[in-house]
């Protein structure tokens, strides 16, 4: 037990100390965004990785949470601390709505319908310009404030710790999920749907719960994101956010607790480093994604295992890869 806690403790300890080591606001900005992505992608991993449902509306949930937070706290003057609950609420409700058609669908159809849902939201945001700011985005969202402490002060350090706290909660929740009967049922449905139903698992209820649970994370992250960058833009429904998040997930490894987190952090740093390449960075990114998928099908979190396999085989003195 104590040993299993060493890695998480080191990980969060190091992250908690990061602001003490550097006060470069650029580094901090990247860190905040990366942490928020880690939360979003971890949430996605619940439906996509553990649940085996290709929910491509996940990033739309993130965007919906950002818009909901923005609109309620700016247009309707709700206090800024309601942002996270509002984001979670909006995201969960939206997730339940997307889940309904998905109950009947499979495979690529799920991808397309959920993606279609995102597009529908996108169209809605464009069309309701009065409410959402149309394609220019919704701007000047009030920043997060608690007891007169504006999280914008001190170079956004408050946001950093909020994001870190969110990630910590995420890890704890997902860890409990994976080791709970609910989590096993979700995985059982992924493994074999008819068999799961034949063993008394209520498909609709479990799936709806899965969606609702996974929606908590983009909901919270979307709210903080909106309050941090102080805007929500319709691009958030588009392909670019989606592919960024999907790359993170696949890069880190689907269906593991730490995979998406590692993926999000590594990918964020990587894509920032690539910015100077201009459009060329897309080429590099695309190549890297495909290469990772090709050589580490389980993502970065599968590397230790792949390494072990390789070592074992090297020891055994076999040279041929025995893949069928």
């Amino acid at each position: 037990m104590t040993r299993t806690l060493v890695f998480p403790a080191l990980f969060f300890g190091a992250l908690a100390l990061l602001p003490l080591m550097t006060d470069d606001s650029y580094v901090r900005h990247i860190a905040i965004i990366a942490l928020l992505y880690a939360v979003v992608v971890s949430g996605w991993n619940i439906t996509l990785g553990f649940g085996g449902v290709f929910n491509f509306a996940h990033l739309a949930l993130f965007a919906i949470a950002a818009y909901a937070t923005g609109i309620l706290t700016k247009t309707y003057d709700w206090p800024s601390w309601t942002g996270i609950p509002v984001g979670i609420g909006a995201s969960v409700i939206a997730a339940l709505v997307v889940c309904l058609p998905v109950l009947r669908l499979r495979g690529i159809y799920v991808i397309l319908v959920t993606f279609g849902f995102g597009q529908l939201c996108f169209q809605f945001v464009l069309n309701q310009r009065e409410l959402t700011g149309g394609n220019f985005g919704f701007v000047r969202i009030p920043p997060l404030k608690l007891f007169d402490y504006s999280f914008r002060s001190d170079g956004g350090i408050g946001y950093y710790y909020v994001a870190l706290l969110l990630l910590l909660i995420t890890v704890v929740l997902i860890h409990r999920f994976v080791h709970s009967p609910f989590g096993w049922r979700v995985m059982a449905l992924r493994e074999n749907e008819p068999y799961a139903v034949a063993r008394g698992i209520a498909l609709a209820r479990v799936r709806l719960s899965t969606f609702a649970f996974s929606a908590i994370f983009p909901g919270a992250a979307g709210a903080v994101y909106a309050q941090y960058v102080r805007s929500a833009s319709p691009d958030m429904f588009g392909f670019s956010f989606l592919t960024i998040a999907l790359s993170m997930l696949l890069l880190g490894g689907v269906g593991t607790i730490w995979g998406p987190i590692v993926g999000a952090l590594v990918f964020s740093v990587f894509s920032e480093l690539m910015t100077p390449l201009g459009p060329g960075r897309y080429l590099v990114t695309a190549v890297v994604i495909v290469a990772i998928l090709r050589f580490f099908p389980k993502g970065l979190s599968g590397i230790p295992e792949a390494w072990q396999t390789w070592r074992k085989r090297a020891h055994a003195g076999r040279d041929v890869a025995p893949q069928p």
């Binding site: 650029y26 464009l126 394609n135 985005g137 960058v229 920032e272």
Partner: protein, 366 residues
């Protein structure tokens, strides 16, 4: 192109020995997909840049939300588009945004001037409408919508009657036929399209010309983009458009001619408006620096910037202290109306800058 323009200006200034020993360096900060966090990353990287003197850009984001961040840095920030958005934010607290100044004027004139120009054409005989009807198409984005609404009001006030009204979403539109055929059912004297995307507008132009009606065609702004003519070729002859804050025609302005030639010589193709403006921004900054002497004294530079009164490629620039936009109108930045004729852009309004007369579009020559 904005970057190219700025780089060209910096190169010239450096070649001339710089300003008070300061050499200029232009660095590009990519906002990637313009997602909020990417724009913010660009700002953060800017912040971390040593010896940052000023930021020049056509516009930092569609929504203008980056201004808050730039305001915190305090560095002089010059933009040249998206005025409505910037204005709406700045007027809330002009003092807070004291470093942000727009070389583009307010877009209000887009809403009002068209009836005057049409009347001028009627007077000059180049347009003889059978009746006073018009069709209008709006494009649903925060830039075009006020113009669309304003134009409707202005036309109605001038006694025009609307026969068709529709709004298109801010996406790629390739098929205007259904809309055009509705317009053709009842041909109006004037067709107004406020579509801001040049390729959408070009598609509209081409499809209109498949079966043109006896109507004057006015497309707001989009035809000013060079590729509009490439894409429509001879189809575009006769179309009207207007532009605020655009360079004054090279035929009447030496400055425009000079920059345009330099730019073409350097990069091998003609610049769009942003190449000109960013070029001018760098020169404007050079003036400020000369006066203040210390590039790190942002407050002084901003204060001087606020006092700017300078004749530029697009007219006389002086800022409105309320909105931080350039003042528009008589003596300041003009609104210009153009008519495309065989690929040439003829300024037909205002008379002072006109390079030619308006003519009856070829499709309605009979």
């Amino acid at each position: 192109e904005g970057y190219n323009g700025a780089a060209l200006a910096a190169k010239e200034i450096n070649a001339a020995g710089g300003i008070d020993g300061f050499m200029f360096e232009v660095e590009k900060f990519d906002t990637k997909e313009m997602t909020p966090d990417a724009v913010l990353s660009a700002v953060e990287r800017l912040k971390a840049t040593d010896n940052l003197g000023a930021i020049v850009t056509p516009f930092g984001s569609l929504s203008g939300f980056e201004m808050d961040y730039v305001a915190e840095i305090g560095v002089p920030y010059m933009v040249a588009a998206n005025s409505n958005q910037y204005r709406s934010i700045i007027t809330e607290d002009p003092e807070f945004y004291k470093n942000t100044w727009s070389l583009a004027p307010s877009y209000d004139a887009y809403q009002t001037e068209l009836p005057k120009v049409v009347n001028q054409m009627i007077e000059s005989g180049s347009f003889a409408p059978e009746n006073k009807t018009y069709a209008i198409i709006g494009s649903d984005n925060p830039y075009s919508m006020p113009i669309y609404e304003g134009l409707k009001k202005a036309m109605d006030a001038d006694g025009w009657e609307m026969t068709f009204d529709d709004v298109v979403p801010p996406v790629e539109i390739n098929d205007w036929r259904v809309m055009l055929s509705k317009i053709r059912e009842n041909p109006p004297a004037v067709i107004i399209n406020t579509e801001a995307s040049s390729s959408n507008a070009a598609a509209f132009m081409n499809q209109f010309m498949e079966d043109p009606t006896d109507s004057l065609l006015f497309i707001q702004y989009a035809p000013s983009v060079p590729e509009f003519v490439d894409l429509t070729k001879e189809n575009s002859t006769g179309v009207l458009y207007n532009m605020l804050g655009g360079p004054i025609s090279a035929k009447v302005s030496d400055r425009t001619k000079e920059i345009g030639e330099k730019y073409a010589a350097e990069y091998g193709y003609d610049s769009s408006i942003y190449g000109y403006i960013c070029y001018e921004m760098v020169y404007l900054y050079a003036d400020l620096l000369k006066e203040v002497g210390d590039p790190s004294d942002y407050d002084a530079i901003n204060a001087t910037l606020a006092e700017t009164d300078k004749e530029m490629v697009h007219g006389r620039v002086k800022f409105d202290p309320e909105t931080h936009l350039s003042i528009q109108g008589d003596g300041y930045l003009p609104i210009q109306f153009y008519q495309i004729w065989e690929g040439d852009r003829v300024t037909i309004y205002p008379p002072v800058y006109a390079t030619g007369d308006s003519r009856t579009p070829p499709w309605m020559a009979n």
